[in-house]
């Protein structure tokens, strides 16, 4: 155990854990993109377990931080944000895992390249939202919310396509399900962005 | 006094009813000064400063106006014997305080405490007789003679100790007599050192000796006060000193010569004083000087004690 000197130092510790979790999420999303592009099966269960563990660690660390330093004002909001963001990143990893499961159920099925495009956008959203958090930049966060609309539209369109048909080809059905999961990923990216806007002290 | 504004009625009553008693003390003190001053005035007017620069004490029966009265020798004797007394008593005081307060078990502490109380309570004539019969011969035999033989080249010991009745013996006897008072004052000062400083000294790894040094540093104003009070007492001591000091008006650098002190002078000459004009007045001047010496020592001591209190919180 090493003695920490200040609240800032303890916060950096939590942020480091969170950054690890972020990288697990990003790696999972990238793997999903590749699998979609190449129609290959994928297993992300290890990533999911790691993400869950990291999330739990961050919860404990953040709780202890609150007990230890009794933060107030924006510092308190920021710690809350770290907790919420760790949950979002964990969920994002879980959705990536579900997409991987979906793909693996029908190996070799070609998925529309537009879905790959949406997956890339979702990943970018996560990346931007997280950057906004660590770099404490509100404008980056705002940008994320705008992108969310794009993904929503893509998902709605796919859903409508499926709903309007008597019979749906397998690719289309799978694409719709995957889009739905990507839409959830984007949602969590948006939550992160909103946390940033809420927790950062107006400069 | 701002407190009087908020005083209750009954408090006020008490305050005013006690006022006369305080006034009596102050009045008595002022009167003491006034009378001493009044009676001394003729001598001061006649002899002026020469009263304090002359050693000779020569009352002239035939021609009273040719009488010579000098207080220099008794003043010198008083100051030197008192100084010797304090110098001798001080290290003993410090050691006794340390032994009582730090290094003795409960029993021994109580024993030493009561011995000192008994010492303080003894009539001074007892010290005087003991000094006369025991101390003076003993010192001459076992201390002064060897000192003179071995260290005779030092002016202090350069004269032959013909008798044991001299300045040195007066100093030694006085040191024994003032010891109980000095111990009492110094012990109080030592005890008023808050426990937390004792702890502080020990927590930085001070050994017993170093610890004692630090404690003495803390108690220093109180110990200086003890020395001053001791000096005041020694200067005023009469009977015992008169028995051992030799009663010869001499100013000498050698401690083994007989001497005089103001108080022994007063005691010895008082009965004859009415026979000579001015002698009474001169003796009262001596008394006034004693009073001033005593007051100065006490005032400084009180200031030292107050300072110590303030410092230790």
């Amino acid at each position: 155990m090493s003695t920490t000197l200040s609240a800032e130092e303890d916060l950096r510790h939590i942020e480091t854990s969170l950054d690890k979790l972020f990288r697990v999420a990003m790696e999972s999303l990238e793997a999903v993109e590749n699998a979609l592009r190449e129609a290959k099966p994928l297993d992300l269960s290890a990533n999911t377990a790691l993400a869950e563990h990291l999330k739990d660690t961050i919860y404990t660390e953040a709780l202890f931080f609150i007990a230890k330093w009794q933060p107030l004002g924006h510092e308190l909001l920021y710690v809350e944000a770290l907790i919420k963001v760790s949950y979002d990143l964990f969920r994002i990893t879980r959705y990536a895992n579900e997409i991987a499961l979906t793909i693996s159920l029908a190996p070799g099925t070609r998925i529309d390249s537009q879905v790959v495009e949406v997956a890339r956008t979702a990943r970018e959203m996560v990346e931007r939202a997280f950057r906004a958090l660590l770099e404490k930049k509100r404008d980056i966060a705002k940008n994320v919310e705008e992108l969310d609309a794009v993904i929503d539209r893509a998902y709605r369109a796919a859903l409508q396509g499926v709903a309007s048909k008597e019979q749906v080809p397998r690719e289309e059905a799978l694409a719709c399900i995957i889009l739905r999961q990507l839409e959830r990923v984007a949602d969590h990216a948006t939550y992160i962005a909103r946390e940033v806007l809420r927790a950062l002290a107006p400069s | 006094m701002s407190a009087s504004k908020t005083m209750y009625r009954s408090d006020k009553l008490l305050y005013y009813s006690l006022l006369p008693f305080a006034a009596i003390v102050i009045a008595a003190f002022i009167m003491l000064f006034a009378i001493l001053g009044y009676v001394s005035a003729p001598a001061l007017r006649k002899y002026g400063i020469s009263l304090f620069t002359t050693t000779k004490w020569a009352p002239n029966e035939a021609n009273p106006s040719k009488s010579v009265y000098g207080l220099l020798a008794p003043l010198f004797g008083t100051l030197v014997s008192s100084a010797i007394a304090v110098l001798l008593a001080l290290p003993v005081t410090v050691s006794i305080v340390l032994v009582i307060e730090e290094y003795s078990p409960e029993r021994l502490r109580e024993l030493i405490g009561s011995i000192i109380e008994v010492m303080a309570g003894l009539p001074t004539i007892v010290y005087g007789l003991w000094g006369l019969e025991v101390l003076a011969p003993f010192l001459r035999e076992h201390v002064y003679s060897p000192l003179h033989q071995l260290l005779g080249f030092i002016p202090l010991f350069s004269c032959k100790p013909i008798t044991g009745f001299n300045l040195a013996t007066a100093g030694v006897l006085l040191s024994i007599m003032i010891l109980p008072y000095m111990v009492a004052v110094a012990r109080d000062a030592y005890r008023s050192i808050p426990f937390t400083y004792k702890e502080a000294a020990l927590t930085i790894g001070a050994t017993r000796y170093e610890y004692a040094k630090i404690m003495m540093g803390l108690a220093k104003p109180g110990i200086i006060a003890a020395a001053l009070l001791g000096f005041g007492r020694a200067a005023g001591e009469t009977v015992a000193v008169a028995l051992v000091v030799g009663n010869v008006p001499l100013v000498s650098g050698c401690l083994f010569k007989p001497a005089y002190t103001i108080s022994s002078l007063i005691a010895n000459q008082f009965s004859m004083a009415p026979l000579y004009p001015y002698m009474m007045s001169v003796l009262f001047t001596g008394g006034l000087v004693l009073l001033l010496i005593g007051m100065a020592a006490n005032t400084v001591a009180v200031i030292m004690i107050a300072r110590a209190r303030k410092r230790l919180g």
């Binding site: 200040s6 709780l63 202890f64 | 702890e199 410092r311």
Partner: protein, 254 residues
């Protein structure tokens, strides 16, 4: 070498017949801050004083059991030697009023002849005052008496006085008890820095759970002379196993 800087084994202390510490098995890890937490009268100061044998100057005490410091049983050692590398800062600021600020810090190194020259002494005094985060405030008045300092500054001066001995173990008895929050944080920070940079082992007594959690690497909770629970600060703060600890943290007993 042991991992524990301090370890007690079935330590029992009686003061005037009162059983004040009961079978305490306490330890403090090297180069970490171990907090002794507990309500008033629970025996925190007594435990602390058993570790530098200061308990012996309190009349009427009886000590049983062992205290090991770096594996050595201190009760079969010279108490004055022990107190050189196990120094203590008391609950109330107690700089020596008859010495200057400088002398207060210099006295330890001087006593133990840790220095050979005035320059070396100056250096140690400055180092200690810097580590106690007091240097900037007193560097221009080192010859003033300490009574001119504020309570918080005096407490930091006491810390500096202890540090000037370059102790390996530092005992702190509620060092921020009578001090405003800003000064208190300064002292806490100074202490953490010492652990980190100098590898000193710190045992820190406090009765406030918030401070315990804030400064501790490990927390020992004592109640009624008994060591109720001991563990990493995080464990004690988030997952105390004993009901008494839980209640104390919540402020329900004390």
């Amino acid at each position: 070498m042991e991992r524990d800087a301090v370890r007690t084994e079935n330590l029992n202390v009686w003061i005037h017949g009162k059983h004040v510490l009961k079978n305490i098995n306490f330890r403090a890890a090297v180069s970490a801050i171990t907090v002794i937490m507990g309500p008033s009268g629970s025996g925190k100061s007594t435990l602390l004083r058993s570790i530098n044998r200061l308990i012996e100057i309190v009349p009427g005490t009886k000590v049983e059991g062992k205290v090991y410091i770096f594996g050595r049983d201190i009760y079969s050692d010279d108490p004055y030697r022990v107190r050189r590398y196990v120094t203590m800062v008391s609950q109330t600021p107690n700089p020596f009023p008859h010495m200057s600020i400088y002398e207060n810090v210099a006295i330890g190194p001087k006593l133990h002849r840790l220095v050979r020259s005035k320059e070396e002494l100056d250096k140690i005094v400055r180092w200690a005052l810097e580590k106690a985060m007091l240097w900037d405030e007193v560097k221009d008045r080192l010859n003033d008496p300490p009574t001119r300092l504020s309570g918080g500054q005096q407490q930091r001066l006491c810390l500096a006085r202890a540090l000037a001995l370059k102790p390996r173990i530092l005992l702190l008895d509620e060092p921020t008890a009578n001090i405003d929050p800003v000064n208190a944080r300064k002292i806490e920070e100074a202490i953490k820095m010492l652990v980190k940079e100098e590898g000193i082992t710190v045992i820190f007594v406090t009765h406030t759970p918030a401070q315990a959690v804030r400064v501790a690497d490990f927390i020992a909770f004592i109640y009624n002379g008994e060591l109720v629970e001991y563990g990493p600060a995080r464990e004690i703060a988030l997952n105390p196993r004993h009901r008494l600890t839980e209640m104390y943290l919540r402020g329900e007993i004390g």
